[in-house]
């Protein structure tokens, strides 16, 4: 019995220490005077590998999810003779929920795991230690550009996802199932609000971007520098980041639309 209590205590201490370490890692990576000349090319490089390379999966998934929404929505709405509400249904689901959330989940799987593995590997091959011994702070040099790249990329990806998804819904609803073209867009327009829907979606994806990138970087930076350690850290990134996104989504939705 006492052992269990002790184990619980140790687990608590470990997780508090882990959270503290993650917090300090981020603080040290982000605080301090930025050196634009040096960090700009690094940021570009990371924007490329984190953002541009994730574009394809985002576009394809967005298109298909939009098409499925169009199809499912139509079959339900047509029973009530309300198929003209297909536009707002597709647009609102994407802008408020699916755009930010699915983008964040895909991002965690595509870019987050890659970030963790890359940093874990840099740790295992002593590249991070080597930077430190050269008098270059690995947090500033390695962590910081990757963090900002993730933070900037994800909202862009989420917007692309929503836009492509709406187009997918349009393809299925209007082109295939014959919902009226004008009604599709005009009913959508009268129900979708800039501030309420688009902006809140962007805010959501900024929050997710922060959390997912942070988790991915922290898991990589703290991983045990062995092949087993790296693979565990990568798995852990995807699991933790996905759960965090879904949990936070509920909280944010409650705050924004509740």
């Amino acid at each position: 019995m006492l052992n269990r209590v002790a184990a619980l205590g140790k687990a608590t201490l470990d997780s508090v220490a882990g959270a503290g370490a993650a917090f300090f890692m981020l603080m040290r990576a982000l605080v301090g005077k930025p050196q634009l000349r040096k960090s700009w090319p690094l940021l570009m490089q990371q924007m490329y590998s984190v953002g541009v390379l994730s574009l394809l999966i985002i576009v394809v998934s967005g298109l298909f999810i939009g098409m499925v929404l169009g199809l499912q929505g139509y079959t339900i709405l047509v029973d009530f003779g309300a198929e003209q509400s297909l536009g707002p249904m597709v647009a609102l689901s994407l802008l408020r929920e699916l755009g930010p959330v699915v983008t964040a989940l895909l991002f965690a799987g595509r870019a987050g795991s890659a970030l963790t593995a890359e940093i874990g590997l840099m740790k295992a091959t002593e590249q991070l230690s080597s930077l430190e011994m050269m008098g270059v702070d690995p947090l500033r040099r390695v962590i910081s550009p990757r963090f900002w790249a993730g933070f900037y990329s994800m909202p862009i990806l989420a917007l692309v996802f929503s836009a492509v998804g709406i187009y997918g819904g349009y393809l299925v609803g209007v082109r295939w199932l014959g919902v009226d073209d004008g009604a599709f867009w005009s009913v959508m327009q009268s129900n979708v609000e800039w501030g309420q829907d688009i902006l809140n979606g962007v805010i959501k994806s900024l929050v997710f971007a922060f959390v997912v990138t942070w988790i991915a970087l922290h898991k990589g930076y703290q991983c045990t520098p062995t092949s087993v350690g790296i693979s565990r850290a990568t798995t852990s990134t995807v699991v933790t980041a996905s759960l965090a996104v879904l949990g936070l989504d509920f909280v944010l939705t409650a705050l924004m639309f509740g």
């Binding site: 840099m122 091959t125 590249q127 230690s129 080597s130 430190e132 011994m133 050269m134 008098g135 270059v136």
Partner: protein
């Protein structure tokens, strides 16, 4: 002989005093009462059986790890009491050759060697170019400058890493197992490079290794670590004549002796017959 030792002790670049270090909250004691002096401009070898924490010692000197007690001074500064900025400043004066080479995998060999220069000096690109080519020439890899680290053999990677380590002309180089896993030829090349660089650049070198034969030929002074502390030190010649059984065992590579062949365990009879359960 005594005179040589005294002058070496007077002009020490790195002084380790009474060091205690344990990993993860004292679970595993690595050093107890470790003291060491590294003479300036010389090659000092640190030897010991594997698993003794020789790499840990280098990380302590570079202040990547902090000891529980004791101090390490580099050129008169206690490295563990510097603030972050001063420590990073001080690290520019030392460099470390990691066991794996630790070349940055996303850059060419050329960019790897230019990296510390671009990071820390405001030199124009033409001068950096000249320096990089000279450093590559020194390790014989000028022709390999456009290769990626993944395309290099183990020995070449280590030489490239060595070129990067001397890019900023440091005062101290820490070599972490420079000979491990090398074929005889590249081992010979690295031995030669360490010796030559030390002489031509006036460096101080600390070589951590367990390849005795190689390091004994170039080292000016040798420390042997075992059982959490220094068990013997002296010039290679002194050590060879030592009659300490531990030193003798280590230098001649005997399987059993003061360092036992068996990991700590109950006696075989107890283990097999299960005396606990009897």
């Amino acid at each position: 002989m005594r005179q040589v030792e005294n002058s070496a002790l007077d002009d020490a670049l790195v002084v380790i005093d009474n060091l205690h270090f344990a990993h993860s909250f004292g679970a595993h004691q690595v050093y107890q009462n470790l003291s060491m002096r590294v003479p300036r401009g010389k090659i000092t070898a640190v030897m010991g059986p594997s698993g003794i924490g020789k790499t840990t010692l280098l990380r302590l000197i570079g202040a990547q790890l902090y000891p529980q007690q004791g101090s390490i001074e580099f050129a008169g500064h206690n490295v563990h009491q510097l603030n972050r900025r001063d420590l990073y400043e001080l690290r520019k004066r030392m460099s470390m050759l990691f066991q794996s080479g630790a070349l940055f995998t996303d850059m060419t060999v050329y960019d790897n060697i230019a990296f510390p220069l671009r990071e820390h000096s405001q030199l124009p690109e033409e001068i950096i170019d000249t320096i990089v080519k000279m450093k590559l020439e020194a390790v014989g890899l000028r022709g390999a400058r456009d290769l990626m680290p993944a395309e290099l053999s183990g020995g070449m990677a280590r030489r490239a890493a060595l070129a990067r380590a001397i890019a900023l002309d440091p005062e101290l180089i820490l070599y972490d197992e420079p000979f491990a896993g090398q074929d005889p030829i590249s081992m010979g090349v690295i031995v030669k490079l360490i010796k030559e660089l030390n002489e031509s650049l006036g460096l101080t070198s600390i070589v951590v290794t367990h390849d005795i034969a190689e390091v004994m030929t170039i080292a000016d002074y040798v420390y042997i670590l075992a059982d959490k502390q220094v068990v013997g030190h002296g010039t290679p010649a002194q050590l060879k004549q030592s009659d300490d059984p531990l030193i003798h065992q280590f230098l001649h590579g005997e399987a059993d002796g003061p360092v036992p062949f068996h990991y700590k365990a109950a006696t075989l009879e107890d283990d097999l017959l299960g005396s606990d359960h009897a």
